[in-house]
Symmetry: C2
Subunit: 227 residues, 2 copies
């Protein structure tokens, strides 16, 4: 994951990213293969890498996401999560990591970005096993942050497709919050808050009644109590 850090008098800085998307009513994270004997063989971990002196932590996170995880999408939402500085978090040396939470809509990804390769995979959140370094801890912090943001901001703009049905939106909340929501109450609340606008179209899916499509009223993430 990180290039072998030179033996310096100070800690080396890295940026690691938890990139999530939603597909088929499930949350997925992007993982990359980590193969760094003797500590990690055939392991998986979060995409990340060293921060160059000429870039900010977020720029480094984006660059490494592109280089290591092959995700170059520029519409990626990123927010800083936490800085992990435990002394032994990287067995190869003193590496402090600034962790980011990143979100993107599945269909804002290119076919290449959607694809799994031997080096990169989209893994369902609750199927993630033991990761390299302290990445399980980072992942846990990311899930918590995502839940709290979903409850109190319009952060789902960044992970929903451009147009969606209210059922899809409800499913997104449900898989992020890990709760069941009442369909009627959910719709009432979302519509009352006026965070989405109905479009003059419907989408038919299989042999069922067509669903009204909606779009977020604003593309910005704003603070508003939702759940």
């Amino acid at each position: 994951m990180k290039k072998s850090p030179p033996k310096l008098r100070f800690a080396v800085l890295a940026a690691d990213t938890v990139l999530c998307t939603i597909r088929d009513k499930r949350l997925f994270v992007r993982l990359i293969a980590v193969n760094r004997p003797p500590h990690f063989r055939h392991a998986w971990g979060l995409p990340g890498g060293l921060i160059h002196p000429t870039e900010t932590a977020e720029e480094a996170a984006r660059r490494n996401l592109s280089v290591k995880a092959h995700i170059g999408a520029s519409t990626l939402y990123m927010e800083q999560l936490y800085t992990f500085s435990a002394i032994d978090r990287d067995p190869r040396g003193r590496v402090v990591a600034v962790a980011y939470l990143a979100l993107i809509a599945w269909d804002a990804l290119s076919p290449q970005e959607q694809r799994d390769t031997p080096e990169t995979r989209w893994v369902p959140m609750d199927a993630v096993g033991a990761l390299a370094y302290d990445h399980n801890e980072i992942l846990k912090a990311a899930r918590k942050r995502l839940r709290s943001r979903a409850a109190s901001t319009t952060i789902l703009v960044t992970i929903m497709p451009d147009e969606f049905t209210l059922t899809e939106l409800e499913n997104a909340y449900e898989c992020i919050m890990k709760t069941d929501l009442d369909k009627r109450n959910f719709r009432k609340k979302i519509l009352k808050l006026k965070i989405v606008r109905a479009l003059p179209k419907k989408r038919t899916l299989g042999r069922a009644r067509p669903a009204t499509l909606y779009r977020f009223a604003s593309p910005d993430v704003t603070e508003i109590k939702i759940l």
Copy 2:
């Protein structure tokens, strides 16, 4: 503030702390003198300094608070705030700062810690002028975090004295949230939440009716919707 960073291939890591307390119905921050010509002369800034390879970011924050701001209290509450990595945030070189929010009760401080010196001062939050580096930005993030924590956790345990009156608690919320609260509604809510316990004592202050003293039910900071 930070020792002159050697010219390294990578950024140097520092920890800066926004230490707050409440005194006389007002929020105060601890500042230290910054005198580093040619960039900063007779300026003030947040206490902070480099992170040693053998310590975590939080340990470095505590150590620098003790060394630079003469605050050695071990009961200090600390929570990581944000990592500031703008390339030019320190005019002397590439320094990335992990910022912390720290809280302590005014009367948990020793007389030395309460005192101002030519090098260190307690400054009322809204009387803070232009600080060195990007420290105004850090301060702003700290105020915002403090407000949000006060509204949704029992974080005031860490800044209230051991025993206090409900009026004092209300004043603490008011100066943190920058709002006026209704006395009756505030008391009802706080008592219903059972986050404080009345003590079998009262405190008389001047020629007025004595006030019941309270203590937090738990010394831990827990999540609970308060305001």
